[in-house]
Symmetry: C2
Subunit: 206 residues, 2 copies
């Protein structure tokens, strides 16, 4: 099953992973799916699920996860900081998925390695659905939101003052890119981030 | 004519602009198309064309330009530093376009303002063709290449030593993102950039 058609290219694909607990409670969070291509052109897919995350807890209970391919900046930022309400979820191949995603891929996970802070799984595609194909030009604001959101998740757990200052500077730089290049969804997403990190607002709200 | 379907959303869309001289010589270069939506929901598109660029010279001669919507990192980097050979060009509505692009939009330009370093045009769509729709997950490496390429174009003209050091640090950071997250096209594109800026290679080639 070649997932390129469904948006999962080589390298790391940033997607929203949806899972459910054994009792059926859905969860959504942004993660990267790592795709490696060997010399025979075979593709293998992997994920690292961090200890303490709801995604890992659910995968350990059910072994299943779904990748939701989307380029909606707001969904990425929301799933970093908030629980998505049930209205965002649909059902596909007995898994919760995001209604608005462009494609869904349901995977079975196979544990291959345990590390101190994460578990490393190979993931095997079991069902694929493409909902919407489109043409979209690169928007620098979209990835600036993603980069700022990644920094945001690390900012609060970083204790080194110099590193923290560096992260703050980068986040301000990304906020400037969103202000200059972003569309409405990117600006809305950056607004959500700024509410969590008010120091970005100083440069972004005037 | 709503260009969203052809990949030109609100904010700034990064595309490859193709133009031709009065004598018919084609040229390609990366630029941003600025899309503004007014309160009635009407979309207007603008470009800033920098003095000294071949794109501006051609637009002044012919008034026409074509936007090529693509997410191929290699094409972006190549058109920053090199002349594309004729094999890359096709013909659409009497304009040169890039064979591989996902969509083409031919615009007529109307000068609205002259600034010290650029001319500001409104661009009016005259012909649109969608070649290929797809689903594609966000890849952090793709935009890291774009950001590094933008820095690269500024690096050589920057004289302030501190600013130059800061740019170098950012380029190394983007090279790290490409190394970690990029697919083959992103890595190939970063390779082209590294050949121009060997100091990036130190961190990226091991």
């Amino acid at each position: 099953m070649d997932l390129k058609e469904a948006g999962i290219g080589d390298g790391i694909s940033e997607i929203i992973v949806t899972t459910k607990s054994a009792s059926g409670m859905p969860n959504a969070a942004p993660i990267g799916i790592i795709t490696e291509i060997n010399e025979e052109g075979e593709r293998k897919h992997f994920v690292k699920l961090y200890k303490g995350s709801q995604t890992l807890a659910n995968v350990l209970e059910t072994t299943m996860l779904a990748a939701n391919v989307t380029d909606d900046a707001v969904i990425f930022v929301k799933t970093v900081f908030e629980h998505l309400s049930e209205v965002h979820f649909a059902d596909f191949a007995s898994m919760p998925v995001l209604t608005e995603a462009n494609a869904w891929i349901v995977f079975k996970s196979v544990l291959i390695e345990e590390r101190s802070d994460y578990l490393h799984f190979q993931v095997l595609p079991r069902a694929v659905k493409i909902n919407r194909k489109e043409v979209k030009a690169i928007n620098r604001g979209l990835n600036a939101v993603i980069e700022a959101a990644i920094l945001a998740t690390r900012y609060d757990v970083t204790t080194d003052a110099r590193e923290k200052k560096e992260m703050g500077k980068l986040m301000e730089r990304y906020a400037e890119i969103v202000k200059k290049c972003g569309g409405r969804r990117e600006k809305e997403a950056m607004g959500i981030l700024m509410d969590k990190f008010p120091f970005i607002s100083k440069i972004n709200k005037n």
